[in-house]
């Protein structure tokens, strides 16, 4: 309210709700935010897009007082703001709805909303306070279209309604600037639509919304302005109406240094992996994979492109036997993986499939293990490593030593702990392990994430060499250039569905970008 009077008194345009300049933040050697500038107009819905790890969450955490920037200036409504704690942010009218809700499931909606503000109304007892809060909340709920049963237990509410409670909570605390961090990740499409209606109402009522997401559809559907982040930097500020999903996709994914991958056409063999109408439904009935079908032939690389979080991770987990599919079937050789079959990752491995997981730190290796120990993860049962129950450290080290030489892993010390290797050498170790098993099918997730240029070139060459030897490779990557460089065919995923498969000859960044955005 004070904002409006200020603006009326001056008679000019109102100052921006948020103005950031020169914001930088490093964690160890990682530059999470590098000289970020951002201006958010009052009463607008402003989107920030970027891949996972682009620095979006760090930026809003700084704005909300979770972290303090190493350098830079924050202005809220035209006044310099010194935000040291979340309490400071709340005082300035900044509210945040987190990706994971901060609600007490065994409390009612009303109890959750007044939690931490039990004395605001000056009620003598908690009952007084609740009665007073109920009045204000009903009018707030009406004003913003946020109807919810105040006496219901939060545990009994759907995820969409819980989010509504979170929004109401921030408004009750006087928020005029609302930050939403990946708000739709846990919502069904219907709930997402309802959320957007609420956001539109909030905008109408003069609330400024900062929407953090990596889903382009949402940006196009609801925002007024959009800023794109990549690798800790702000790469573009655009007016939503004047941009397109493909332009945004290209900006998000970026152009990396051209790498000589020495790609050439190759003979394709017979089909060795068939995926038939695969679906996967997550917790709360959220569809994660919607009817994916494709064939994978020996001697080809099928690239899976898409903005991250569109089902690629789930596809890898289902194909590798970690998660059983909800419906559909996967045929490998003569064997079938279906919802009814109790296939384990081991069974899939025995069918000749190897998997380089996207998350090499949590899944692909055990960080406190030595390189030698990690070099056999998932292959412990090989007889060459020791007889029966026993497990020889010498055999492990010899095995690892051979891999290190083959794949030029440095330092070539099998006894060194995994977390002391660089990202590139860690990735080479995982690739070496999976490739040396001589699989018929190789699933590769984000092979060059956090990997230096030199190692990238090496990894590309190895992947192409594997293909030439007749291995069928499924390559999942968010780096569009990587997909276009290495793939014989490209499948594009959006919102858990395949947007189609394009041959290398017909694939270019622009058309793929459109498919990634779900436009086609």
């Amino acid at each position: 309210m004070t904002i409006k009077t200020q603006h009326n008194a001056r008679g000019g345009t109102p100052p921006p709700a948020i103005a950031l300049s020169g914001i930088s933040k490093t964690f160890g050697a990682v530059r999470a935010n590098d000289d970020i500038a951002l201006t958010v107009t009052q009463g607008h819905i402003h989107g920030i897009v970027g891949e996972n790890g682009a620095g979006k969450s760090t930026l809003v955490s700084i704005l909300y007082g979770f972290y303090q920037a190493d350098r830079g200036k924050i202005e809220i409504n035209g006044a310099h703001a010194d935000i040291k704690t979340t309490a400071d942010a709340i005082k300035l009218g900044v509210g945040m709805v987190h990706q994971h809700f901060m609600l007490v499931p065994t409390f009612t909606v009303l109890e959750n909303i007044i939690l931490g503000h039990e004395h605001r109304k000056g009620g003598k007892t908690l009952d007084d306070e609740i009665a007073l809060a109920r009045e204000e909340l009903s009018s707030l709920a009406q004003q913003y279209g946020l109807e919810v049963d105040f006496d219901a237990l939060v545990a009994d509410l759907s995820v969409g309604l819980q989010q509504r409670v979170e929004i109401l909570k921030t408004l009750y605390r006087g928020a005029k600037i609302l930050i939403l961090d990946e708000p739709t990740g846990v919502l069904t499409p219907q709930e997402t639509d309802q959320l957007f209606e609420i956001l539109a109402t909030l905008r109408q009522q003069g609330v400024t919304v900062l929407l953090i997401t990596h889903k382009l559809r949402e940006i196009m559907a609801i925002t007024d302005d959009v800023s794109v982040m990549r690798g800790g930097k702000m790469v573009a500020h655009l007016v939503t109406k004047k941009t397109s999903p493909s332009e945004l996709a290209e900006l998000m994914v970026g152009r990396q240094v051209l790498i000589n991958a020495d790609f050439h056409e190759a003979e394709k063999g017979e089909v060795c992996l068939t995926v038939d109408n695969l679906t996967l439904t997550g917790d709360g009935g959220i569809p994660l994979l919607r009817g994916i079908s494709f064939d994978l032939r020996a001697g080809e690389i099928l690239g899976v492109a898409g903005v991250s979080g569109n089902g690629q991770s789930q596809l890898l987990e289902v194909l590798s036997g970690i998660t059983p599919p909800t419906t559909g079937a996967i045929k490998i050789g003569g064997q079938v993986i279906s919802p009814e079959s109790t296939t384990t990752p081991n069974d899939v491995k025995n069918m000749g499939l190897a998997h380089v997981p996207e998350d090499r730190h949590a899944m692909g290796m055990v960080l406190p293990f030595s390189a030698a120990e990690t070099s056999v993860l998932g292959y412990e049962d090989q007889p060459s490593l020791g007889s029966g129950f026993w497990f020889g450290p010498d055999q492990l080290e010899r095995h690892c030593g051979e891999l290190m030489q083959d794949y030029d892993i440095r330092p070539a010390d099998p006894s060194l702990k995994c977390n002391l290797f660089s990202g590139g050498n860690q990735q080479k170790l995982v690739l070496a392990r999976e490739m040396s098993a001589a699989p018929k099918i190789l699933l590769v997730g984000q092979p060059t994430r956090g990997v230096d240029i030199g190692a990238i070139e090496f990894i590309y060459q190895r992947l192409i060499a594997m293909r030439d030897q007749g291995c069928a490779i499924l390559l999942v990557s968010v780096e569009l250039d990587e997909i276009l460089t290495l793939s014989d065919r490209v499948m594009v995923m959006n919102n858990g569905a395949s947007m189609g498969i394009v041959d290398k000859r017909d694939a270019d960044a622009q058309s793929i970008g459109l498919m990634m955005a779900g436009v086609v």
Binding site: S320, G321, I322, T344, P345, N346, K349, H355, P357, D359, A362, M363, G364, M365, V366, L367, P368, F369, E373, L377, G378, E380, D381, G386, F389, W390, F391, G392, P393, R410, P411, L416, N419, L420, F421, S422, N425
Partner: protein
């Protein structure tokens, strides 16, 4: 709890620093009550190692600590906290008791002893596997369930020893004595047979079994496929699933092994010394095993040394109580408590300091570019 320090500092220097800190604080307290801390330390050392039979007693207690310490350590490698050593040891004892009482009239003593060893382990394993199952399949945290299982075990023991198993015409909650010869050899007996005169002490063959168990744990954890998978599961469940293992299965197996080791503690007390089943023979050794494992850095060698320290404290502490008017049993308990506090609860207190010092002297950590 990862550290960039070399192993010899981690398992050598740091525990010594912790003990030193505990002794300094204990010394200050002893000085406050008007005794000379150095004299007290002398009495304690003599009481633990020098007096006639003292070493035997110290090693006897050490045996208990080795078993319960190993039990905690094995579970810890899978990031499970087994707080149920007490209950598992009681059940091990119950297994030995039931076996021997049922069969000692008909089965030869030697055979019975050979049977009692696996039975104690199996009973303890069963008592550990059930909380493991509940954690794996039902999500009930092992910390809670193992503690509850201690109470259940304790109640079963009281129920049986004050009822069915109590010796006829007796007032004490104990069973009848085992038949003659059903017990593990004591060291002074073995030495006597070889013509060497050694002071009497309860130290028995369980000590050797404990050392074998320690070696077995080392082999299991670092030289077998199962141990590899246990460690992988402990560090990253995701990685274990990716590698094709079921964390649920590993949790149950690990808890069974852990419980089995704790159950074998009963060999020392029941088959080694009491030769009958009594109440509360575990007297807290199961809990102290946690401190032993922490101090021994979950490594069998470390655990043997930590057990020796705790054994010496147990035995030497009793001597303190005996020699000094002002130092009561409670005082001794407090000193033991301080050692547990510093080497158990505060085990990583000196880590950052030592790490800084080490890197200042040796230079930054070794790693790849």
């Amino acid at each position: 709890m990862s550290t960039t320090l070399p192993r010899w500092i981690d398992i050598g220097v740091l525990p010594l620093l912790n003990i030193l800190a505990a002794f300094i604080v204990s010394g200050i307290i002893i000085a406050i009550i008007g005794e000379n801390p150095f004299t007290a330390l002398g009495v304690m050392l003599k009481g633990a190692f020098v007096y006639k039979g003292a070493l035997g007693y110290t090693l006897f207690y050490t045996t208990n600590f080795i078993f319960t310490g190993l039990a905690v350590a094995v579970a810890f490698h899978a990031t499970l906290f087994n707080i149920g050593g007490e209950g598992q040891a009681m059940m091990g004892g119950l297994g030995i008791g039931l076996l021997v009482l049922a069969l000692d009239a008909v089965v030869p003593a030697f055979l019975l002893i050979m049977l009692a060893i696996p039975v104690s382990a199996l009973m303890g394993a069963a008592w550990g596997a059930v909380p493991g199952y509940l954690q794996a399949k039902r999500g009930s945290h092992v910390v809670i369930t193992t503690i509850m299982f201690n109470f259940i075990a304790s109640s079963i023991m009281v129920w049986l020893l004050a009822g069915t198993l109590m010796e006829q015409g007796q007032m004490a909650p104990e069973t009848r004595d085992f038949a003659e010869g059903v017990g593990l050899f004591k060291f002074h007996e073995i030495a006597g047979m070889m013509g060497i005169k050694v002071a009497r002490s309860p130290l028995n063959l369980s000590f050797v079994i404990a050392l074998i168990a320690a070696f077995g744990v080392w082999v299991l954890i670092w030289r077998t496929r199962l141990g590899y998978v246990i460690r992988a599961t402990g560090h990253s469940e995701k990685a274990a699933v990716y590698a094709g293992h079921s964390p649920q299965r590993i949790i149950i197996i690990t808890m069974a092994i852990s419980g089995g080791l704790a159950g074998m503690m009963a060999l020392n007390e029941i088959l080694g010394v009491q030769h009958k089943l009594i109440l509360d023979f575990t007297s807290g050794f199961g809990f102290t095993g946690i401190a032993v494992a922490l101090m021994g850095r979950n490594h069998p060698v470390g655990i043997i040394f930590a057990s020796l320290l705790f054994g010496a404290l147990y035995q030497g502490g009793a001597e303190l109580d005996f020699e000094f008017q002002t130092i009561t049993r409670e005082m001794v308990l407090m000193i033991q408590g301080l050692i547990i506090l510093f080497s158990g609860a505060l085990v990583y207190m000196f880590n950052p300091m030592v790490e800084r010092l080490y890197h200042r002297i040796v230079g930054p950590e070794k790693g790849a570019a």
